[in-house]
Amino acid sequence: MSDDMAVGIDLGTSYSAVAAILDSKPEVLANEWGERTHASVVSFLDDGTVLVGNSAKRNIITNAENTVYSAKRLIGRFFFSDEVKKAQAVMPYRIVEGPNNSVRVQIGQRIFAIPEVSALVLKEMKAIAETALGRTVTKAVVTCPAYFNDNQRQATRDAGRIAGLDVLRIINEPTAAALAYGFGKDINQRICVYDLGGGTFDVSILEIGRDVFEVLATAGDTYLGGDDFDDRIMTWLAQDFLEKRGLDLRQNKYCLQMLKEAGEKAKIDVGRDGQATIHVPGICQTPEGEVLDLQHQLGADQFNRMVMDLVQRTFKVCDEALQAARMTAGDIDAVILVGGPTRLPIIRQSVRHYFQRDPMTGIDPDEVVALGASIQARALLDRNAAAGGQASYLLDVTPLTLRVGTVGGWAEPVIAKNTPIPIEKSKAFTTSRDGQDRVRIRVYQGESKRADECEFLGEFEFTGFRIGYRGEVQIQVTFEIDSNGIVNVAATDVETGQKASTTIRLSSGLSEQDIQAAIDKNAEVVLAGHGS
C-alpha cells in the first residue's frame, strides 16, 4: 500500500465537502467545529485574511461587497453570457470584465479570476483535511457537474492547481455518487443518478456490471438548481411586500440578501416540517424612518405550486437522458438522489412517481459526491488496486457535442455527445490559398448547428507545415477528449508527418503565466479561523 494520501473534494455551488479513505472506508472529514459540509463562500476580511465556509456565510449580509458566493455559477463562463448578467443583477460583490471576455471579481482594489476564488474554497478543504488527518495533503480528485463544458472543467482544474493541489482527476458528480453507493454485485444493474445541486441539475444513466461503471448517457441543465427554488420564494415575498408596503426589497442589495436568506431558510423549513414561518425583523426602513418587518407563513401546498414547473423541468432532462440511453423509466433498477434540494418531499414524490420506485437514500445526499471522489482518489493512487480486486472502472461520456466552426457561422460535429471518453478523432483540413502558412480552427461545444448558439472553447492557429499551392497541403487535426472531459487539439502535416505547432489559444481561461502568479498569491493567503 502506498504511503501517499489523496482526498476527494466536492466543490459545490453552495456547499463543498472533503472526504478520504480511512481504514479502507470512505469518510467525510469534519472541520474543528464538527461541520461536515462547508458553504462555498469566500469573505475577504479587513485584516487581509480570508474567511471561507459557514462562518463566511454570515458575512454575505454584513460584509456584502467583500464576500463572494456561488462562484461556481460563474466559473468558465464568458463575461457576456446570460448567467453572468443575471449574477451581476443579484450579487452584492462586483463582477467585472477580464481579458478575452473572461469574468473577474473586484474586491476593493484587488481583482480575482473565478478559479482564484474557487481555489480559496479548495484551500480551505485542503486545510480541513490536513487538520483532520494530521498530515499534508497535496493530491485530490475534484468533482464537477456532468454537464460542465470544457471551459468550466479547465477552470475547475486550474482552481485545484492554484490551491496547490495535484488534481489527479476531474470526475463527474453523478458518477462519483454511483461509485459511493458501490453496487459491485455480480448482476448488471441500470441506475439513474438524479443530482439537483445548488446551481446545476444533472442526470446520468449508468449500467453497472461488477466493478465497471459505464455511463450510458448524461444530460443536464447548468441553469437549474436549488437556488432557483429560493428565488421563487423570494419573488413571492418581495411581490407581496411591494403590494402591501409599496417598497421593492429587491432594489436594495442589503435587503435582497436578507430576503435571499429568508427564502433559503423557508425552503428548508417547509421541506422538513411542511410549514415555514418567515420572520425578518427590520428588513427595511420607509423614507419616513419607520422600520418594517417581513412576516409570512408558507405552507407545503403553496410552495409546491410555486416550484412545480422547476420540478417538471428536471424530468424533461430525465426524458432526454433515458432517450439517449435508449431506455424508459421502467428499465431503471435503482435511483440515487444527490444534492441537498433532493431532500424536499416534492422532489422525492415526483421521482417516485416518475420512476415508479422508491429512490435510494442510504447515504446523505450532501456527502455522497465527496465520498465517491475519495474512492476514486484512492484507486488512482494505488498501483496494486487492480491486482487486489479493489479497483472500479469509471467509463464516462462527454456531455456535449464537440464541433469545429466552418464558413458562414456553422459548427460541424466532430465528436458526438454521449461518446465514451477518452476518445480521439481526426479531421483533415486543406489550405484554401496559395502559399498559406497558417490554419485557424475554432472549436465549440453544444447541440446547435449554429456556431453562435454553441459554447466557444477556443481558437487554435497551426503553423510550421509545408507551404504549397492551395488544396495541396493537407493538415490532419486530431481532437482528443481526455478522461477529465478536457479537450486537446493537435495538428500534423499529412504528407511529412511533421507536427504543426499551436501558436495561439484564445479562450477565456487563464494562461500558464497567470496560473503561476495565482499559485504564489494563493500560497500567501492566510485563512481565518484556523487557530493551529
Binding site: S2, L168, R169, E207, G209, D211, V212, E214, Q376, A379, L380, L381, D382, R383, A385, A386, A391, Y393, L394, L395, V414, T419, P420, I421, P422, I423, E424, K425, K427, E480, S483
Partner: protein, 183 residues
C-alpha cells in the same frame, strides 16, 4: 507491471492500425449487442488508464492511453446497430484496409441511409408525406372515408410507394361497405 505486459502493449500498439474494431474488442463479427458490451467491459478492465495512473512510466501510460482510446472508438461504432451494419459491410468489402476506422464520411453515409429509410416509410415528396400524415391521423380517428381519400391523393404523388398502397388496402378493408352508414 511486469515486462510481459509492456511487450504485450507495445505489440498491440504496433498492430493497432491493422486491426478492425471487432479485433480490437476481441469479438467475432456476428457478436450480439450484449456480447459487445461485455467485451467492452472486459477490455476496459484490462486497459483503462485509471489502472495505470500511479505507474511511474509516462511512455507506457501513453501507449495504454492509445489502446484505450481505440477501444472506445470501436465501442462507439459497434454498439450502434446502424453504424455496425455499415461497418461490417465495409470491412468485408474490397477496400477493407481503407475502412478499418470509421470516418466522418462513413458517419454521413449512415445518417443519409437512416434518412432514406424514414423517407421510404413516410414518403419522398412533400405532398406525398402531407397526405400520408393526414391519412394516418384519419385512421387514428376512425374516419375511414377521409383516410381512403387522403391515401389516394398520396399515391397520386408517389405511385411507386409500396407503403402507401399497403395502407390503402388496409383502410379499404376497414371501411364500412354499402354506402348507408348510420349517423
Amino acid at each position: 507491471m511486469d515486462e510481459s505486459f509492456r511487450i504485450e502493449v507495445e505489440a498491440l500498439v504496433q498492430a493497432l492500425d491493422q486491426l478492425d474494431y471487432f479485433a480490437v474488442l476481441k469479438l467475432p463479427q456476428d457478436a450480439s449487442p450484449a456480447d459487445i458490451r461485455e467485451a467492452y467491459h472486459r477490455e476496459s478492465r484490462a486497459y483503462h488508464p485509471d489502472r495505470f495512473a500511479a505507474l511511474p512510466d509516462p511512455p507506457l501510460r501513453e501507449l495504454v492511453g492509445r489502446i484505450y482510446r481505440r477501444i472506445n472508438e470501436a465501442y462507439t461504432v459497434l454498439r450502434d446497430d446502424a453504424r455496425r451494419r455499415k461497418y461490417v459491410g465495409d470491412i468485408n468489402g474490397p477496400d477493407r484496409a481503407g475502412k478499418l476506422r470509421f470516418t466522418e464520411a462513413d458517419e454521413v453515409e449512415v445518417k443519409e441511409a437512416q434518412k432514406r429509410r424514414v423517407e421510404e416509410q413516410l414518403g419522398q415528396t412533400p405532398n406525398g408525406r402531407k397526405f400520408f400524415a393526414a391519412a394516418l391521423a384519419d385512421i387514428q380517428g376512425g374516419r375511414w372515408d377521409a383516410a381512403s381519400r387522403a391515401l389516394q391523393m398520396a399515391i397520386m404523388y408517389e405511385p411507386q410507394n409500396p407503403r402507401f398502397k399497403e395502407q390503402l388496402a388496409a383502410v379499404e378493408k376497414q371501411r364500412p361497405r354499402g354506402g348507408f352508414s348510420i349517423k
